[in-house]
């Protein structure tokens, strides 16, 4: 009982925790471009979530009487494609595809990559040898070729694109985390954690991981843009989401045939890709400055 009250008193006397979260937010929103990026990402996320309520038309509705309408036609702000489907509605649904693939892939890829990197860095020796050589192998392999092969085996469809891109995104994380773990584990507090009886798992996840978390968050945010680009490349090549599903990459490819008469069909999805990728990159930059300014110049 006595012990407990002392601990409680100590907690009360301790200075209030520095408002790290507020500080982070403040730094994050100082740069104008970061705010622009944040707003862009927010707009696309809202578009993806509320798509069905926002779109004036069903993106899959074929309308043979209104094919290949030019932009700014009455009723169709961005015109229609060769099957008479409303371009704007398909763009909104394309944001669902892009963000779903980007965010789910990054979540799975980061988790696996971080765990592998932690294991390799922490245990070293044979564990590190096996994991890191496998990662090197994945890195000597262009991600797109890997994705092409995997979607070839599993067929198209959004879940297979996610699997393919996840496999391609694990290696960079595990490499970075491996390096960071190697340097963090030399710190005295890791030895101290061991001395007070923390087991390996506890040391790894409660003592090493929090120290490399900022780096992981920054890297993931920047990577989402790259993954959205990769998804677009895949669906541009005709792999990835199956028709009639809407993906920006396949919309560009579909519109390519009508480039001379309807350039907007190809151009509009590309602008969406640029905006959303730019948004995530700027958010990554802002997070880097806010969470770990030392990373400037390296990321």
């Amino acid at each position: 009982m006595g012990e407990k009250s002392i601990a409680a008193a100590e907690i009360q006397e301790a200075p209030p925790r520095t408002t790290g979260w507020n500080q982070t937010l403040k730094v994050f929103f100082t740069r104008k471009l970061v705010v622009v990026g944040f707003v862009l990402v927010l707009i696309f996320v809202l578009m993806a979530i509320f798509g069905p309520w926002l779109t004036p038309y069903d993106p899959y509705q074929i309308d043979t009487e209104n094919t290949l309408l030019q932009p700014l036609t009455k009723g169709h702000l961005l015109g229609t494609d060769a099957l008479g489907r409303d371009t704007l509605s398909r763009l909104v649904y394309g944001s669902r595809t892009a963000l779903t693939v980007g965010i789910i892939t990054i979540a799975i890829g980061t988790t696996i990559g971080v765990i592998l990197g932690l294991l390799a860095g922490f245990f070293g020796g044979a564990t590190s040898m096996i994991i890191m050589r496998l990662m090197d192998m994945l890195l000597t392999f262009p991600m797109l070729l890997l994705a092409l092969l995997i979607s070839g085996i599993l067929g198209g469809g959004i879940q297979n694109v996610i699997i393919a891109l996840t496999l391609g995104s694990i290696a960079p994380y595990s490499r970075v985390v491996n390096g960071q773990t190697l340097s963090v584990k030399e710190n005295d507090y890791i030895i101290a954690a061991h001395a007070v009886g923390a087991n390996d798992a506890r040391t790894m996840f409660s003592h090493i991981l929090p120290n490399i978390l900022p780096l992981i968050i920054v890297l993931s945010t920047m990577q989402i843009g790259g993954l959205i680009l990769a998804e677009a490349s895949l669906s541009f090549l005709g792999i990835g989401i199956k028709p009639p599903g809407a993906a920006w990459g396949s919309m560009i490819n579909d519109g390519y045939r009508y480039l001379l008469t309807n350039p907007a069909l190809s151009f509009a999805p590309g602008i969406c890709i640029i905006l959303v990728v730019f948004g995530f990159m700027m958010m990554g930059d802002g997070l880097r400055d806010a969470l770990d300014p030392r990373l400037r110049g390296t990321l």
Partner: protein, 318 residues
Amino acid sequence: MSAYIIRRCLIGLLLILMVTIFVFLVMRLLPGDPIYIYMSANALDRLTFEEIVKLRHQYGIDRPMIVQYFDWMGKIFRGDLGESMFYQAPVAKLVKDRFPISLEISFIAWIFGDLLGLLIGIIAALKWGKWIDTVSIGMSYLGITIPSFWLAILLIYVIGLKLGWLPLSGWTSPAVDLGEHIKHIIIPVFCLAVAGIGGTARLMRSSFLEIIRQDYIRTARSKGLQESLIVWRHALKNSIMPIITLMGMGITTIFAGSYIIETLFSIPGMGMLTVSSLFNHDYAVVQFSALLTAFIIIMANLLVDISYTWFDPRIRYQ
């Protein structure tokens, strides 16, 4: 140093072996039979069962996978790259025609992208906070975020279709007509390089800004050295390290990009061959293409790591 290079080469060999095993297995997991794809492509739908069995035997795909792998690998070491089922031609001949084309485009895009990015980054850093800086940074962000195939379509539309300055697609050998050759590669090379330009410029700017504030730069200034000497000798060599790392990774990006760009511009290079062979289940072609790609990426990264010692003599490899 030589011990380090030998060790790296051995590891590289191991990695190449792993890549070949991986691709070999994955190719055989692809649904669909190469013989049937070959048949439908050549309108040979009246092949009898016996003839199909004969074809399978001829290409050796009726044997156990492990036997096939070692047979293929053994032949590679003896200089026999195998036979393409789809093109009915030796892989060596296909590669001999196409590889130089890809190598030229990729290499020019790689060097051009990095040099231009370097230059833009340095200028932006020197004019820090001025309008040139803002414009360069904006352009480099655009370079990173723009999908290369979309940029290609945009350039085809504006420069090819509307202005008619450059041909839309295709390929002319430099031996036939050098001028036409250059005209054909300008847009593809630029599309491949653009991500590299953006990435290099952005990284170079921040790295240069970091270095230019160091004490030894102040020392150099205070002893009265010319500004140009400080920039090009003292600052450049020290700020270039992160760029070298990025260049190593850029090789992989350019290879991936060439698959799409070559297909889009109908350039008969390795990228187009690999993509079409993948769809045609042309085992021998895809396997060798992956091996070649892995080899080039590994060698390029080895060169990058060795070049560190030249830029920063403090780095020693054992």
